[in-house]
Amino acid sequence: MELIERAGLLAALQSEFFKVADGEGHCIFVSGEAGIGKTSLLKALRNELKNRCNIYQGTCDALFTPRPLAPLYDILLQMGHDLPESSHEIADRTLFFTRLFQALYRQKGVNLIIFEDIHWADEATLDFIKFLARRITQLRCLFLLSYRDDEIHSHHPLRNVLGQLNPDSFTRLQLQPLSQEAVETMAAGRGYNGEDVFSISGGNPFYVNEILASYSPGIPDNIKDSILSVYNRQDEKTKRVWEILSILPTGLESTVLEKTEPLYAAAIEKSLDSKILILKDGRLFFKHELYRRILEASLSPLVRVALNKRILVVLREHFEEGQATERIIHHAKNANEYDIVVHFAPIAARQAASVGAHTEAARLYLSAIEYYQGDEKDLLIQLYEAYAYECYLTNQIREAIIYIGRSLNIWKKKNDIEQSGNCLRFLSRLWWYDGNRKNAESYASLAIEALNAQPSSRAKAMAYSNMSQLKMMSDEADECIFWGERAIAIARELSDEDTLCHALNNIGTIQTNRLATRERGLEILQESLAIGLKNGYHEHVARAYTNLGFSGVASKSYGLAREALDAGIRYCEERDLDSWSAYMLHVKARLKLETGCWKEAGHIADILLKNENQSSIVRIGALAVAATLKIRRGDPDALPLLQEAKTRAFEARELQRILPAMAALLEYEWIKGETFIEDEALDRTIEMIGLSKNARESSEFAFWLDKARGRSLPMESPWRWDHCPYEQALTLFEGDDDDKRRAIGIIQGLGALAVYEKMKQEMRLSGIKSIPRGIRKTTQGNPALLTDRELDVLNCLYKGLQNKEIAGRLFISAKTVDHHISAILYKLEAKSRVKAVQEAVRMGIIK
């Protein structure tokens, strides 16, 4: 089939390839509705490039749950590498990804990797896509991915993936339907009426071709009739072959079909000749998945069930245990073979979980639960708890709560106190994640009550540690240490390094919050980190880095915080621990905000807020940062963000969430000169601060309380804003006239328009002269906020002109030129004219 109206896209893809060949790798996401011609386009590209690079292609399965990492196995096979025989053997997924990355790195020449139909990709494959895409610039590799944008509903994980990638590392290409002219030309070529064909097909190339293929008996009303009319014209044997294949999304090995239905060989040949069936890697498929789907949907449901039953028998006969599990489950579901689903689904779920395909693992466990018709409590508990754990990992917290609840009921009936206690503890953790502090606390207490009288056990240690963690979050130091030490005692007794690591983290963190115990706290945290790193306790390591970072920011030890956050984010990104890196990123956003790196702060906050599935805790932090930037710059719509942050923060009941939200609202009050907070909320916050004794954390809040409401809080020691340019400027503004001028200059440099205006007003009213001019509208369009004049000078510099020449060209004095150049150097953060020009080119200011 020749490509029509795709020459432009093909050329674009080829030019991207040449760019990669010359420099660094890139990703391209090719999208379009089913039948739009993505496969044909990619096939044409392969043809063009086949002698110029190594080509590897992987496909994703359209099964109920796909085989995890299927496309990776495809390309490993093509690369000719030793690979683990099944996903059983992947002990460490990150290691597996890294090995593949290194194998690609060592390849000679340029690589073209194609993953098709990634809307069907399992979670582990999506993680790999993120992994590779984030590192693509290090490889000479063009990574092409295709997907159906009409099958990506609003919560599809692929949307998340795209949102988490660096926008510079990938391009998106969307295929459009054929134009009316093109369709009419195609139709005319066969002597048909193009208008009808266009109106039925909508320009979809697959539909156009199908309609034209079956046009002669009469115009079909729709595409379904078109395909069915072709089907009805076939002989009986061919129809049977097509029926069988229609229920097989991953096709069928031709050898298997020939063995089961030896009489159909001729029919198969005929279909291959007419190209309605194709042979790919030894498997028979319909030429297009749409074809298969339409045929499948037209079958009588009873016939479908019968066919699925038959295929199930065939698959189980021809494949070894563990080789076609996902296909078997798919067909067992469609055949209503409950026992088979219940038998195989947990096996596939375990495999999926082991490579990090937790979404698939959750679905499989749920299937087993739903299809289980019996009454064996032990099996149910196993399934409920496994399912709940996968839900916890895939952020389906409410679902996890329901199923642990069911498990708890069974343990209670069996009078198993230890397991009941464990469930209660897990429920406490889950409720905390859901942002419901009240329930988290009550379950934590119930867990301890249940286990207190029991002998030492892991469950008991964890229940104590869980309570210690809650107390740490709400800054209740004495209780945190009390429970933490009891947890540690049992953990040491049982050599339970996992719980030990967890508990040390809690008491270490709480102690870093007070000046007197800070050093000791940091030591303990480092001890926890070391245990975690030694044992590969990913979550604990992530938490240790997080708390080090968080406590660093709270105590304004920005250097320490930066180190911990950078190491931590790197650790998490290497292992795809996304919820932890998101948490650390929100702390980093706050770090950047406080140290005056507002651009970066805003950028991070925006990325975090884009993810709709973000945890409430992270969302609060990101909202506070984003809203603060808005109010300082005078952007509209800050208030709804602030109010959302405040509401969520109070639900979470933790001072560390409440303070930033309240401080931001108070700042807003100061800038606007209006009231936005009810006294009750303010009083409650102040009360919580009084109870906490954690002075440093509340310094921002106290600062704004004073400025907005004129109330001061008793503080241990006055705070210093050593590395916080914004707060320094505000404090400076309280000085004399010259101080005020300098302060307003700094505020202007930071881009805080609203604050600048406010200060300007004040200065005017006090009769101060020579107020530095504001940022003109034109500077807001370019990233470094250069004025028009500065841009002119910069362009002259780019052309290599000397100061005198620039002055002559722009009709300004040489001194003014000097002045502009210093401003340029400052704004671009460059040390010389040459560097300034380089930076400007890099930022796209000079084209």
Partner: protein, 92 residues
């Protein structure tokens, strides 16, 4: 006797032909008669991918027996606590 709502998963159920529907109905009635205890199939609602059935039987176990003999799939069975209709809104 109790009333039960049964959910049966059958992708493409709305495609069932009149002949198939007739055969299924016949099977249901015949099997009901072979159970050796009172059993009534009231009505079934065939939708795109599922069939919802209303049966009256002594217990859930009997309903399951019926489905097994008839070879009908069961996804869920729920016992009906009370049936209401517009007349239920009349003042008490």
């Amino acid at each position: 006797m109790k009333k039960f709502v049964i959910e049966r998963h059958l992708p493409g159920a709305s495609n069932l032909s009149p002949e198939e529907l007739q055969a299924m109905s016949q099977t249901s009635i015949e099997v009901a008669g072979q159970l050796g205890e009172p059993y009534i199939w009231i009505q079934s609602f065939v939708t795109g991918d599922k069939i919802y059935c209303i049966h009256i039987a002594e217990s859930e176990a009997t309903v399951r027996r019926h489905s097994k003999l008839a070879d009908f799939p069961i996804n869920t069975i729920s016992e009906v606590a009370v049936v209401i209709d517009p007349l239920t809104s009349n003042p008490l």
